[in-house]
């Protein structure tokens, strides 16, 4: 597994933010809310979620819009949206550096930023990307070069509570069902380390207060 690192409250102006890196992939997520909402987006029974993803180079294109939609649908499931009707929660993700794991890094950054902002959530979630080589071995957290040589790449987002509950599955390339299950299982095992990492980061944030 690649090295995970995270810095909470990286931005001083947003309600919550996190700089998250997996190996050479770095994403910065900022969360604002629950705040004011445009009248056209106002929902009477839940808060409106908005995800904005900007790539490290160039303009936001179809790929980014598709990523936004995946991240939004994932986050929507974890946040207790009905607690704040007629509000908006904005999540902005800036891809800083990418080596094939942009989606995982941004999903994890979004989760840490939501924790930092103190948004009420059902559960935490963690994304793990893996790829499968022509020989059939599964590589967790591959590099861009490894993905290029692989037959298929898959990203899974798991929720922390419950057994192996998959929130999101996204794949590139063809996977047989056996390989799919193998990838799913190994990613799920890897996700436990990510959740443990989340806990360590949160403990670090509250360390001072706990000791005083």
């Amino acid at each position: 597994m690649a090295q995970h690192a995270c810095e909470l409250s990286f931005l001083s102006r947003s309600d919550g933010s996190a700089l998250y890196s997996i190996g050479l992939n770095v994403a910065l997520a900022s969360v604002n809310g629950p705040g004011d909402v445009k009248v056209s987006n106002r929902l009477y029974n839940r808060s409106h979620l908005e995800v904005c993803y900007s790539p490290s180079t160039g303009h936001s294109m179809i790929r980014e819009r598709a990523l936004e939609s995946i991240i939004m649908r994932t986050v929507e499931q974890a946040i207790l949206v009905h607690l704040h009707p007629r509000t908006a929660i904005n999540i902005t993700i800036q891809e800083m550096q990418s080596d094939g794991l942009a989606l995982s890094a941004s999903v994890n950054a979004a989760c840490m930023a939501l924790l930092d902002a103190g948004i009420q959530m059902k559960t935490t979630f963690a994304a793990v990307t893996c790829c499968i080589t022509p020989a059939g071995t599964v590589i967790i957290d591959p590099t861009e070069a490894e993905i290029q040589e692989s037959v298929a790449e898959a990203t899974f987002v798991f929720e922390s509570s419950g057994e192996a509950s998959v929130l999101t599955a996204h794949q590139d390339g063809r996977l047989s069902y056996e390989d799919f299950k193998k990838c799913l299982h190994q990613c799920q095992v890897a996700s436990r380390d990510v959740f443990a990492f989340y806990r360590r980061m949160t403990e670090k944030k509250y360390q001072n207060e706990a000791e005083s």
């Binding site: 409250s9 974890a78 207790l80 103190g118 009420q120 059902k122 559960t123 949160t202 509250y206 706990a210």
Partner: protein
């Protein structure tokens, strides 16, 4: 010390408050069933009860008071209006008999011109846009617009009302506001040894300071902002140094 695997190493904190451990959303805190479990418990912010299990909904420190009140203490910046909390608002709009006040929540609060001390239809006092109001929320729930008043149940101001001109207002994060809202706060008392000042703290993370001289106010503001990154004990000595340096 904090035990990571949810063990029960409990620290005694001031005021009988116990800090149990760090929790993340979805963590199981305890199982509780009102029919079978003994005694009653109270759930504060950041906890929810579902299917006989109390779970955390926020990341933070799980705390417990001797009266079985559990809550999650978080470091957050966004204010979510709560009934009976004292807040500082900024008048942004006038709409007939009511004023709209920005209190930092998702919606602006309203305040009627009658909810000030000694206010009547005849002795109406006009508020200007941009005025600062210190008041209490009497309506705050997720389905309604928050409403503020500047009087208590006996129509007395009790310190609430429009804040006089000549002070300075700034924002801090919510846990800093909670830290210094206590009038006996050791940190504020330390500051008062050096300089005479008036301070008003709103639960919405807004602090208003007034002193006789401008540079004193700037010095005080910087001292209070230090709490964002330090514990009050750490900030104590540094604050005194800043005060000495800036108040020449």
């Amino acid at each position: 010390m904090i035990n990571t695997n949810g063990g029960k190493i409990i620290r005694q904190m001031h005021g009988g408050l116990e800090s149990v451990r760090v929790v993340l959303p979805g963590d199981e805190v305890m199982s509780y069933n009102p029919d079978t479990s003994e005694g009653s418990i109270y759930l504060g912010p950041g906890l929810r009860w579902e299917d006989g299990m109390v779970r955390a909904a926020k990341a933070g420190l799980l705390k417990k008071t001797p009266r079985q009140l559990y809550f999650v203490d978080t470091h957050q910046k966004r204010y979510i209006p709560q009934r009976r909390e004292y807040v500082i608002g900024i008048v942004t709009k006038k709409k007939g008999d009511i004023y709209k006040v920005d209190i930092g929540g998702s919606e602006q609060a309203t305040i009627s011109f009658l909810s000030f001390e000694n206010a009547s239809k005849k002795t109406r006092r006009d508020l200007a846009l941009g005025d600062l109001i210190y008041g209490q929320l009497i309506v705050a729930n997720k389905h309604m617009e928050p409403e503020m008043v500047c009087i208590d149940a006996y129509d007395r101001a009790m310190g609430m009302g429009v804040l006089p001109a000549g002070g300075v207002m700034f924002s801090v994060s919510l846990q800093v506001a909670r830290e210094i809202i206590n009038p006996e706060s050791p940190f504020l008392l330390t500051l008062s040894k050096k300089v005479k000042y008036t301070v008003v703290v709103g639960m919405n993370g807004r602090v208003w300071v007034k002193a006789t001289r401008q540079n004193n106010m700037v010095a005080l503001m910087n001292c209070i902002l230090m709490l964002e990154y330090m514990t009050p004990e750490e900030a104590n000595d540094k604050a005194l140094k800043v005060l000495e340096a800036l108040m020449l």
